[in-house]
C-alpha cells in the first residue's frame, strides 16, 4: 500500500473520523483508523460502542501507487498530521507491520495491528431515505440536546426523541426537570418513525455538520440510524425503550405572560445567580422571579452565608395577567435562553407551582419548559 495526499485534505478527513474513536475500549484495534486504499479512492473507518463513521476520500490531490488495507493508530496519526507543516504526505506499508509516513524531512514509522482484526461495521442499507436539511438537523440539536439527562437514572432520557408523523417532525428532550420541544413542518413526505438518539452521538454529529451544508439522508432501522452526508457516513445506535409522553406535562392555559428582551433577561439571571444557594437535588442555583403589582419583574436570590441579590427588569412590553412569584434553577433558564435565536422571548406562567414555558418571537416552532421548585 503506497499513496500520497495533501496534508490539509487528509487532516480534515481524519478530524471527522476521529469522532468515532473510542475513549476507552477492551478491543485495542478500535483505537486504529481503518484505511481501505483502492485504485482511485480510499475509505477511512472508525467505530466505538455508540457510533461508526466512514469517509470516502477521492480528492484530486490523492495519488495512489498501490492499493491495500491497513489499521493505523488513530491518536498518533492525527497528532502527527497536526504537527506536520509540509504540503504533502506519503504513506507506505512495510511488510504489513509498519506504516512509514514521510513529509519533507520528517519520517514516522508506526507499528500496526493486523487490519484483519478490525471488526466488520454493519452500515445500514442505503434504501428509502428520509431527507433533512443539514442546517435543520444542526439547529434541532442545538435547541434540544442541552435538555437531555446526563445521568443514567432513566437511560431513555439521555437522548433526543425524533418522531415523524404526517409531514411533521416532533423533537423532544427532557431530564424530567426541564424540557425542550421543537416541532417542524417538513415539505417532503417520508415514512413514519419514532426514535431516540443518544445525546453524545448528537454532539459528535453536530460537530461534523459544522463543515457540511447540504441535504442529509437518514436511514433508520429499529436499532440504528445512519446519516449520509455526501462522502460521510455517520451511524449511531438508538436508545431502547419507549420515550415518555411529554405532551401531558405542558400546561395549556397561561394566565400570566411576560415579554423580555432576551439578552437583558439573560444578563440579569446570570447576575442574580452569583450569590444564590444550590438546589440539593440538582446542585443548581435557585432564584426567585416575581411580577410585582407595579408590573416590574423582580428576580432575587438569598444565601444565608453570603448575602442577597436583587434585579429589576422592566418587561419589553406590557406584561399580561396578575402578580405571580415562582422559584427555579437559574441554569435551566440560562440554557433555554441561550438556545433561542430570538431577540425577544415570552415567558408563559400557568401558576406558581406549575411548569412555565418560554417561547421566542422568531422561534415559533420551539418551546422550552421549566419545572419550578417550591419556595419555603
Amino acid at each position: 500500500m503506497i499513496f500520497s495526499v495533501d496534508r490539509d485534505v487528509l487532516l480534515n478527513q481524519l478530524l471527522i473520523v476521529q469522532k468515532g474513536l473510542p475513549s476507552k475500549t477492551p478491543l485495542p484495534i478500535l483505537y486504529a483508523i481503518k484505511f481501505e486504499v483502492n485504485e482511485d479512492h480510499m475509505i477511512l473507518t472508525t467505530s466505538n460502542t455508540d457510533v461508526a463513521i466512514q469517509v470516502l476520500v477521492d480528492d484530486h490531490t490523492l495519488s495512489i501507487k498501490q492499493a491495500g488495507k491497513v489499521a493505523i493508530p488513530g491518536r498518533y496519526l492525527i497528532e502527527i498530521m497536526r504537527k506536520i507543516t509540509s504540503q504533502r504526505v506519503e504513506f507506505a506499508l512495510i511488510e504489513d507491520k509498519l506504516i512509514v509516513i514521510k513529509a519533507d524531512r520528517s519520517e514516522f514509522k508506526l507499528r500496526l495491528i493486523d487490519v484483519e482484526d478490525y471488526p466488520d461495521i454493519d452500515f445500514l442499507d442505503l434504501n428509502d431515505p428520509v431527507v433533512l436539511d443539514s442546517v435543520l438537523i444542526k439547529t434541532i440539536i442545538k435547541e434540544t440536546n442541552y435538555a437531555t439527562a446526563n445521568t443514567e437514572k432513566r437511560p431513555i432520557l439521555t437522548g433526543v426523541n425524533f418522531k415523524y408523523l404526517d409531514n411533521h417532525l416532533y423533537c423532544v428532550a427532557t431530564d424530567s426537570y426541564r424540557l425542550s420541544q421543537k416541532n417542524v413542518k417538513l415539505r417532503t413526505h417520508s415514512k413514519q418513525f419514532d426514535i431516540v438518539i443518544p445525546n453524545k452521538s448528537l454532539d459528535e454529529l453536530s460537530k461534523i455538520l459544522d463543515t457540511y451544508n447540504d441535504d442529509v439522508e437518514l436511514f433508520i432501522n429499529p436499532n440504528k440510524v445512519l446519516f449520509k452526508m455526501n462522502k460521510i457516513l455517520f451511524q449511531t445506535r438508538l436508545l431502547e425503550g419507549t420515550y415518555p409522553d411529554t405532551m401531558r406535562i405542558i400546561p395549556v392555559e397561561f394566565p400570566v405572560v411576560i415579554p423580555f428582551n432576551k439578552e437583558e433577561l439573560l444578563a440579569a439571571v446570570e447576575r442574580v445567580s452569583l450569590l444564590s444557594p444550590r438546589d440539593r437535588e440538582t446542585n443548581y442555583n435557585i432564584i426567585k422571579m416575581s411580577l410585582r403589582p407595579d408590573r416590574v419583574v423582580e428576580m432575587s436570590s438569598t444565601n444565608n452565608e453570603v448575602g442577597d441579590a436583587l434585579e429589576e427588569i422592566i418587561p419589553s412590553s406590557d406584561a399580561v395577567g396578575p402578580v405571580i412569584k415562582i422559584a427555579f434553577s437559574s441554569r435551566y433558564l440560562v440554557e433555554a435562553l441561550k438556545s433561542f435565536s430570538s431577540s425577544e422571548v415570552l415567558i408563559h406562567f400557568a401558576g406558581e407551582v406549575k411548569p412555565f414555558v418560554i417561547k421566542g418571537n422568531l422561534d415559533a416552532d420551539l418551546l422550552h419548559l421549566i419545572l419550578p421548585v417550591r419556595i419555603d
Copy 2:
C-alpha cells in the same frame, strides 16, 4: 462608608489585588479584600502566605461621600463586578454588617466579616530603593521562571535567584535538570543583594506587569521584597537558604556549535517528540539529536510500542566541530527555545554526556543549559 466609582476602574484594580487572595487559608478573613476609604482616595489590600498586594485608587471617577473601612468577600465581589454592565457602581455600608452594591437596576447585599479582624500587613519601609525597568523584570521572569523546580524536594530551587553586584544583575533558575541564566548590566548603581523569589510570586507579578510600563522600585530585607509600581505595592516572601553555585556546572569549552533557525528547530523537536517514550524520573519525552558526518542534524525517538520518528534539519549556517550524538528531554529544549526572542539559536555541545548550552543571536545576556540523559 459610602462611595461610588466607575465600574471599569474598580474592576481593573480588583483584578490586581485578586492575585493576593489565597486559594485556601485557615483564616477566612483573608478571602476578603480590605477597603480603606478615606476622604479623597481608597486603598485595597489582599494577602496570603506568599504575597501581599495593595493598590491606591484615587481615580477622578471615585466619589466618596463617607469614609470608612470594610472587608468584602473577594471572590463574590469580583464575580459581581465582572457581570455588571452599568457604568457606575455605588457601595454603602449598613451597620458594619452588610455592604450594599448598587448598579442600575441591580442590588447586591454581601455579609461582612469584621474588618478589625483583618491582620496588619507589614509592608517594608520605602527607603533606599533599587530601581528596575518593568520590561526588564517581565523579560527576566519569562526567561528564567520556567526553569525553576515545581517540587519541594529542594525548596530553594522553586525560586529564581536574583543577585546584584557591581552594576550587574545575575538571575538564575534551575530544577537541577536544566538551567536558565540571565546576566544584565545595569546603568544605575545600587546596593548589593542576593535573594531568591518564589516562582509563584513571580508568575503573579508578571501578570500585574502586563498592564504596567514604568520604573519599578524594589525594597529588600532578608525575608521579603517589595515591588512598588506607582500606585501598586506587591510584596512577596523570599525563600530561605543559600542558592547553589551554578557557575561551576556550566562548561567552558564547546567543541561543537550548531546554528539553527529557532522556529524550524522547535517544530521538528515537537514532531519528533510525538512518539517518544517518557523518562522514568521526569516523565518527559526523551529524544536523540546527532550531528551526522554529512553535517545534517538528525533527531529521532524510538518507542517500542508505538514506533519511530526521525527528523532531519539542515543547520542555518555551517556547524562547527566533529560529529556528536546526545539524548535529552525534549520538553526542556522546547521550553528553552520558547523563552528566546531570537530567531536564530546556537547550541553549544561540550560532549556527549556533558550539559549543552543554548544561546540566541539577539539574546547575548541569556543562556540556557540542559543536562543530557545517557543513551543505552
